[in-house]
Amino acid sequence: MTFRRWLVLGVVAVTAPFGDTLLSIGMTRVGPVSLHHLSTLIYALKTPQILFGIALLICFFSSYLASLSWADLTFVLPASSIGNVIVALLARFWKHEHISPTRWLGILLITAAVGFVARGPSYTEVPHPHESTELEPEVEPR
């Protein structure tokens, strides 16, 4: 793993929680969506917070795709979960929000998880990449 690839994982980590938070703020402004008026979800796209949230999620998605082309799904997901910790630490030291001991424990667990996967291999090497990447299990030749 090069520094550039860790940087891409960093973008994956940061843009996802910030994008989700903006979507939440936007949907709170839109209000409850009824099953009978699902078209409201389309009108929700005009809300600035939702648009900015979607822009951040597009950044997340392109970085996520790039990372999945050179790393395993089970490596990328835990490694990029450090974004939750970054958001919590920003809330604590920038917005001076209170963080309960339970949340500190959650931060500790996620940080430990990132440490676990970061020390292991990032990609499962397979002998025949184009054959073994199929969703169907490989069948041994008789």
Binding site: M27, V33, A66, L73, T74, G106, L109, A113, F116, L135
Partner: protein, 132 residues
């Protein structure tokens, strides 16, 4: 009173279940597509950014995965308008880590060793604790 207020617990569980199921199928399809396409850095070096984008968009498996991710996204928007963010976001996020680890092992044949299982469970628990 509608269904969502009468059966709050079941409705929340169903909405979270839908988000997790769609996200897991989408993640596995997309990861499988990206693996078969190859290293995007190499493709971009040889064929440029447009070539890399076309390589991704030309994969039917990727497009199917994106469709499932879109279903998950709209399920999330729908759920956020009925349930609290502090419940829906961490519950769906934490459960997705475990379901993805299981799906990656069986469908992507990834080497999910004890290190990655522990990481998936720690993140799942950590995300849940941070929401409390």
């Amino acid at each position: 009173m509608n269904f969502f207020t009468l059966h709050r617990g079941w409705a929340d569980a169903a909405m979270i279940g839908a988000i997790v199921a769609f996200a897991t199928v989408g993640d596995v399809m997309i990861a499988s597509a990206m693996r078969s396409i190859g290293d995007l850095d190499d493709i971009r070096a040889h064929r440029g950014l447009i070539g890399a984008i076309l390589a991704v968009l030309g994969s039917p498996r990727f497009l199917l995965g994106v469709s499932f991710m879109a279903l998950s996204f709209f399920s999330l928007l729908f759920a956020l308008s009925h349930a609290d963010l502090s419940l829906v976001a961490p519950a769906s996020a934490s459960l997705t880590f475990v379901t993805n680890a299981i799906a990656a092992k069986f469908f992507l044949h990834e080497n999910v060793d004890h290190r990655r299982w522990i990481a998936a469970v720690l993140v799942c628990a950590g995300v849940a604790l941070m929401a409390m």
